[in-house]
Symmetry: C2
């Protein structure tokens, strides 16, 4: 007789919550007979299980009481030092005090929403952008403004005075973007940081996949380009894709006055990130293990990407377009205007194939003819069969009139 | 030439953030020569290091790919089942679907703030209450209303219609409260849940220390008492005090319509709590290990509590009053009105003794003559010496006029 249920008063933000489209789809696609291109999961074939097992064991054997005790909100000092050193390069020195350890990049997005967004605050996001970021920011009810993009990604020249006026930040994924797989070239990066510096607009540079480049030339990060021109760049990184996501470990690099606020927010949010996982990851990476490990992950992902690009070439209609990522996990497909990919998904699920329709990745004005394909966890034969099924459902390009 | 710094626009909530008093004090008290009664850290002597080391190793040896992969937002299913079973008793059946795993209780407080609080929403808190909860809730800018308390804790009869009107929830720590160490008796618990059921006021029952009872009779939880009378009770628990805090693992038990909203919030907040720590804790507790382990922790804490009560009796002036906790980690001291404990702290730090002044634990109308003492991590001789120093600084009770 829980009579009080109907009287529970939730906050406005809670009343506006809706379940993630990706999340609901992933529930359906947990069945083993489904070939899922929907997931954002990295390949477990890339997880260094023995190395992490040894790292946890060493930490608990030699520093058990520290690993199991409360820790500093800022993060485990040696790990902060490692991150600072790993990101520093000629012309860019990161101080450990500019590093905050977080429980995965997603937590950084939540905390940055808390830091910057009042109800109705304008924020700039790419069109399309990472769905998880939109979900985090939406908790704080911003006014989204879409940054125009073209086939090469974000267009810095389109950042008009009207677009940036009173905006709290611009959120950008410059490498192998989620969901498009696109990488910003150096000229656009330079133009972007200069434009943001002039406008006093902070840049959130989310770079979960940067270390997973398997083609093309590495590009300088926005943090590296932004500092000399006076841009405020907040860089997000994660161990989810270079080691494993199940530890929930990421970091924020930002100017000290921002780190200082984020530390206060993190204290109120979850006190600190687990000590034992921070220490184990530090133990795993301190000896330079990633230098041997990452080439294997890149090679795996490049091979998987190739399987899917080949299959798309073979089975998708001639009027479909898709990106050719230089790294990361995703290919973005644009179909003819008459195809609604949400309807396509319903048909695909009937034939045990799944993907994510593109619409939820747009904060505003979503087109209905795009979709995201993840290629990293599916075996080659199932990639071919799954893409073939999608190609059949889409059907050939209509004959020209 | 970071010229843009001064133009960064933070949210109102970020501009209102202030650093935690406890946090700043803890920084000072990290010096080994300081005897600190300020901490809220459990004793590492109570951490089952070998058992947790074995649990991590088993999980990574046998289920490494799962432990390192993304997991469900709701939490690791066997751990949710364990929590449900552990809390169920005759007359109270908890379903695993009513359990959400979180990254420590602090995260639950943050998420409950998101769920319930709009700017200006009335929320009810004990006077005094847990500082970390006040910090979490304050992020969402509620209007605090203090629930009147007396020497036995919260006074249910004082929950007038005016006090509860439009309130979003009441936040209560019924066992060995932080900071007072007080435990609500059964009659007050019953009166509280009945009053809240009538008012349709959700109760957040925070019980981090419930398993650490070393004196008196166990009391039924608010969840157990509340369900039969139709109260909405949201129960928070944690592994921080029964195992170890450095894993950041806690849980929420609540009706499904609330869990469902919290899952959506958690997805936007940090996706999920680390898989590897959830699986290791499940591995450690599944065989009933806590039944052997908890009596040792209780005995340790009881002994430590006794050292401090003895020292207070011996060294504190006759006009000081303090609580006699039946469990947990804290003793609450009330001094004569003329003593300002913030000033007392300054003097104590000069003599290498630290504690937490009581004022920050009050959401409104803080008295200045209270303080919190934690006794669990300090050796007996240092407890005696530290309390003696504090007694000297406070000075004897003034002669009656």
């Amino acid at each position: 007789m829980d009579t009080s249920v109907s009287r529970t008063l939730f906050s406005q933000r809670a009343n506006q919550l809706t379940s993630s489209a990706i999340r609901e789809i992933l529930k359906i696609t947990e069945r083993p007979e489904v070939t899922s291109f929907a997931g954002g999961l990295p390949s477990p074939a890339g997880f260094p299980v023995p190395e992490l097992r040894a790292a946890f064991d060493k930490v608990l054997a030699t520093q058990g009481a520290t690993a199991l005790q409360y820790g500093r909100t800022e993060g485990y000092t040696p790990l902060r030092e490692w991150v600072a050193q790993d990101l520093s390069r000629p012309g860019l020195t990161i101080d450990p005090e500019e590093v905050l350890i977080v429980s995965g990049s997603q937590q950084a997005l939540d905390m940055l929403g808390k830091l910057f967004i009042d109800e109705g605050s304008p924020v700039l996001v790419e069109a399309p952008s990472y769905l998880g970021a939109l979900q985090s920011f939406s908790q704080f009810q911003p006014e989204y403004r879409a940054v125009p993009t073209d086939a090469l990604g974000l267009v810095p020249d389109a950042l008009s005075d009207d677009l940036v006026r009173d905006a709290r930040f611009i959120y950008v994924l410059p490498n192998f973007q989620n969901p498009t797989g696109l990488t910003l070239d150096q000229a656009r990066r330079q133009a972007l940081v200069e434009r943001c510096a002039r406008a006093g607009l902070p840049i959130i540079e989310d770079d979960p996949y940067g270390e997973l480049r398997y083609a093309g030339e590495p590009q300088p990060g926005l943090l590296e380009l932004g500092r000399p021109v006076g841009a405020t760049v907040i860089r997000l990184g994660t161990f989810s894709k270079v080691l494993a996501p199940g530890m929930r470990l990421g970091y924020v690099v930002a100017p000290r006055h921002i780190i200082s606020k984020l530390v206060q927010i993190k204290q109120a949010t979850d006190l600190h990130t687990a000590s034992v996982t921070q220490m184990a990851v530090y133990e795993a990476v301190r000896s330079g293990f990633l230098r041997e490990h990452l080439p294997k992950v890149r090679e795996l992902y490049q091979r998987q990407c190739g399987y899917m690009l080949d299959a798309l070439q073979e089975y998708f209609p001639s009027d479909a377009h898709w990106t050719r990522p230089e790294g990361g996990m995703f290919i973005w497909v644009t179909l003819r205007d008459s195809i609604d990919t949400t309807q396509l998904l319903q048909a695909a699920i009937q034939r045990n194939v799944a993907f994510v329709p593109g619409a939820p990745f747009y904060a505003v004005n979503a087109p209905t003819n795009t979709l995201r394909l993840s290629f990293v966890t599916v075996p080659e034969d199932r990639i071919r069969a799954g893409v073939r099924t999608l190609g059949e459902l889409i059907g050939p390009a209509p004959a020209r009139g």
